[in-house]
Amino acid sequence: MAMTAEDVLSIIAAESGVDRAALKPEATLVDLDISSIDVASVVFELEDRFGVAIEPENIAPDFTIADFVDHIVSLAKK
């Protein structure tokens, strides 16, 4: 199934509880108080829904939202 940046953003919002509107591209995960368990939950949902394999340890706390989305979308294209 094709994955868009918006798919990733909506899953980040749903799993972390952070408002979708607050997910600005330049904000880092730390800025947004998105914890490692939030990231693990996001990764689980993405893998489940889109069949993509993601290593959560490759997603660093200083990633911006844009980094996070680019990373996932690039994995999905492989």
């Binding site: 972390s16 509880g17 108080d33 368990i37 693990a40 939950s41 689980f44 949902e45 893998e47 489940d48």
Partner: protein
């Protein structure tokens, strides 16, 4: 001299509604919550809560940091927020260090576990959501309340099946009396109206096909309910010092274990708990009281409880009033004791006893009891609230009206 422990806030979520006000209104007007249910494999009769009602009640709470919430936690959070707000304790410094959280739960987050097992065994998927453990564990609701209110004192869940929340309230009473804390956020929660739990309860053969008819002829068993009730308990000095409104007193607690059978009740064990509660409150059992029975509507419980109540209260039963509110809110398993204590305290305060619903007529096996078969005016100043669990675990609370 025992430290007096008072109630300064109460909160409740059940099939009867969200909030103590709506719970009480429906209880006293005889609007029972046991009705048809059709929820993800669950079909039959239950006192269920519409998920959208709880979500709406939780909308204003700061829940983001708490992670994924099973209904077990969500019910507790909504009930506790009501109780803490009613107590006016929101930002009080005692919450940080001088407060305990004691909740009773009979089972963990059933909906979360069902979803996980469905993935594993039905869908053959080998991966589970990473928050499956933190959101389903039986102690999760206690942790969630601690996070929401910033409580750093002793925080735990007590599990004793259908007596869990009565045990939690009683143990909280003794923690305050013993000076370990000044405040306790205590009660119970249960979210058992989920497919796996539902089928397992039916397998035990104790669920009525129709409804819950406590102490009635032709009663066929219990009706499952769900929800939470939470109270704010405080030492009287603490409550008075901060000028809190006092709703009543939690005056006594008795607990016992039958050590006899995993499902059948034992009259001696039940009597022991009722007597212990009266001793703890420093009152005699042979005086007229408001008696809130465990009254599940099962053949065995009601007959054995009726015999125990007659044996303990003796001449005091004359002039007493017996209620059985599971006929309205169903059996919340671990949450029942706290819901019934809240309704019982409201009954004392309002001077009105809610009626036993769905009653068809007397059952010789239960004998005579002064059942409230219609809402009735009462002048009792003391509540005796019974909770008895599978596995023979009994807990009885004594409440006193604020005068």
């Amino acid at each position: 001299m025992k430290r007096k422990v008072v109630i300064t806030g109460m909160g409740c979520v059940s099939g009867l509604g969200i909030g103590v006000g709506e719970t009480w209104r429906r209880a006293i007007e005889g609007e029972g919550a046991i009705r048809p249910i059709d929820r993800s494999g669950v079909q039959g009769q239950a006192a269920w809560i519409a998920p959208e009602d709880v979500s709406a009640a939780a909308a204003d709470l700061e829940l983001r940091r708490l992670g994924r919430l099973d209904p077990l936690s969500l019910y507790a959070l909504v009930a506790a927020a009501e109780a803490v707000e009613a107590a006016g304790l929101g930002d009080h410094p005692s919450l940080t260090e001088r407060t305990a959280i004691l909740l009773g739960c009979g089972s963990p987050g059933n909906a979360t576990l069902d979803a996980a097992f469905e993935r594993l065994y039905a869908k053959g998927l080998g991966k589970l959501h990473p928050q499956t453990i933190p959101s389903s564990m039986i102690s999760a609701p206690a942790s969630h309340l601690a996070m929401l209110f910033g409580v750093h004192g002793p925080t735990m869940v007590i599990s004793s099946a259908c007596a869990s929340s009565a045990n939690a309230l009683g143990e909280a009473l003794h923690m305050i009396r013993g000076g370990r804390v000044e405040v306790a956020i205590a009660g119970g929660t249960e979210a058992c109206v989920s497919y796996g739990s539902w089928v397992a309860w039916h397998a035990l053969g104790v669920v009525a096909p129709d409804t819950c008819r406590p102490f009635s002829r032709d009663r066929q068993g219990l009706a499952l309910g769900e929800g939470a009730a939470i109270l704010v308990l405080e030492s009287e000095e603490h409550a008075v010092a901060r000028g809190a409104a006092i709703l009543g007193e939690l005056a006594g607690y008795g607990a016992s274990s039958d050590a006899a059978d995993m499902t059948a009740p034992d009259q001696d064990g039940i009597e022991a708990a009722i007597r212990a509660a009266h001793r703890d409150a420093g009152i005699a059992p042979d005086q007229p009281r408001l008696i809130s029975t465990h009254g599940t509507g099962t053949k065995l419980n009601d007959a054995v409880e009726a015999a125990a109540v007659r044996a303990v209260h003796g001449a005091g039963l004359e002039g007493s009033t017996v209620i059985a509110t599971k006929s309205a809110h169903g059996h919340l398993i671990g949450g029942s004791g706290a819901v019934e204590f809240v309704i019982g305290m409201k009954a004392l305060a309002e001077g009105l006893a809610p009626s036993v619903l769905n009653y068809l007529g007397p059952d010789p096996e239960c004998g005579d009891l002064p059942l409230a078969l219609a809402p009735q005016a009462i002048e009792h100043d003391t509540l005796v609230s019974n909770s008895f669990a599978f596995g023979g675990l009994n807990a009885v609370l004594i409440g006193r009206k604020q005068t």
